[in-house]
């Protein structure tokens, strides 16, 4: 899939899962997906200044009836940790986290973030699944939404570069 096709596939998965408010902060690899979010008229899109505020915005929206998703890089997930612990986990709030997996195998620049991402999710008891194929997105999103609603805890989908239709840099430069 091209990045555009992958973005459309992931976004249609979010719509099919009933997501109607999405808080985002850009990463270059998420650009296509955020374009889809922005272009949709029915979804409330909240562009953030810092990811932690997005945890609050999604919590408020959930409390009055919205199904929400937060889209961010793993750096943003680290930024959000206090809110995840003392709001999402402490109050049993469901939230679908779509996290770009910077520093994943073959991805340059943020290998330290990559190495800490899954251990931190695990330490917080947040169930997480790595998405590698864009075509898996609708099914994975549907299942993750069921799990987050049923467990009343956040669930994370880690979006790798190839899941967004982009090639991981495998050649040395």
């Amino acid at each position: 899939m091209t990045p555009e096709e992958a973005a459309k596939t992931i976004f249609s998965g979010l719509k099919a899962a009933g997501i109607s408010l999405i808080a985002t902060l850009p990463d270059i690899n998420l650009a296509g997906l955020l374009h889809e979010v922005e272009a949709d008229r029915d979804v409330i899109h909240v562009p953030l200044c810092r990811e932690e505020e997005g945890i609050g915005i999604c919590t408020g929206a959930y409390l009055v009836g919205k199904k929400c998703a937060a889209i961010m890089q793993n750096g943003g997930f680290f930024n959000s940790n206090n809110a995840i612990v003392t709001t999402l986990l402490q109050y049993h709030i469901p939230l679908l986290l779509l996290i770009y997996y910077a520093g994943d195998i073959g991805d340059r620049t943020f290998s330290t973030s990559g190495s800490m991402t899954e251990p931190v999710l695990q330490a917080l008891g947040i169930r997480h699944y790595v998405m590698r194929e864009p075509s898996d997105a609708p099914e994975l999103i549907k299942r993750a939404q069921i799990l987050t609603e049923d467990s009343k805890r956040p669930v994370a989908l880690l979006l790798t570069k190839e899941s967004l239709g982009r090639r991981a840099a495998i050649r040395s430069q």
Binding site: L21, I44, R50, I55, L63, V64, G65, A83
Partner: protein, 201 residues
């Protein structure tokens, strides 16, 4: 000006508004002034304004009030540009600025040395952002904000004087359920669904 007196003024005009209260004594005082399942207590310092924003955007026909503090807002200043950007007409953001981290030993916040939260709100793009200096002035502005249809930011310089009130009666999870049930009832919508095994459905 005492925070407790200002809260009494808000309660007069708040009627069925959803109210989000910041971590700290404001939660307990507000609960004493207006006990309601439509109150949501925040435990993450800073998140009050963001949780209220999420509610206001998702329920545009309902008034939402954030009762924030200076220490809290200073930790989440970026909620102001996001609020200004989304511009919900049903949100009133009130900040009680007593210039200290009252719940954490009363060390001074940055507003004690001149940081102007209303100035920051205006510079962030919130058109209606005003300071109030007396209970009468606060009551007038709060009434205008609660009856109006635009995003409003109100700063209130208050003393550190606390009012003796009962402890908060419920824990976080009960607060969540009661709040959601209150929204379901008053908005006549279904939010929570029970998870019966498929053989029962």
């Amino acid at each position: 000006m005492k925070r407790f007196d200002c809260l009494g003024m808000i309660a007069k005009g708040a009627t069925d508004a959803l109210v989000v209260t910041s971590a700290g004594a404001v939660t307990l005082e507000w609960n004493a002034v207006r006990p309601s399942d439509g109150n949501f207590r925040v435990r993450t310092l800073g998140l009050c304004s963001s949780i209220a924003l999420g509610m206001a955007l998702s329920l545009p026909q309902r008034k939402v009030i954030a009762l924030d503090g200076d220490g809290s807002l200073l930790m989440n200043l970026c909620s102001l540009p996001t609020m200004a950007r989304m511009r919900p007409k049903n949100l009133v953001h009130i900040v009680f600025d007593n210039e200290v981290y009252e719940a954490s030993g009363s060390k001074k916040t940055a507003t004690a040395t001149g940081t102007d939260l209303v100035g920051i709100a205006r510079a962030a793009g919130i058109g209606r952002a005003v300071w109030t200096h007396s209970v009468d002035e606060f009551a007038k502005i709060a009434t205008e904000a609660l009856n109006g249809h635009e995003l409003f930011f109100i700063g209130a310089k208050v003393t550190t004087e606390r009012t003796e009130v009962p402890p908060y009666p419920i824990d976080e999870v009960e607060n969540k359920y009661r709040f959601i049930r209150y929204v379901e009832k008053t908005e006549k919508i279904a939010i929570l669904r029970t998870n019966l095994p498929s053989s029962y459905s």
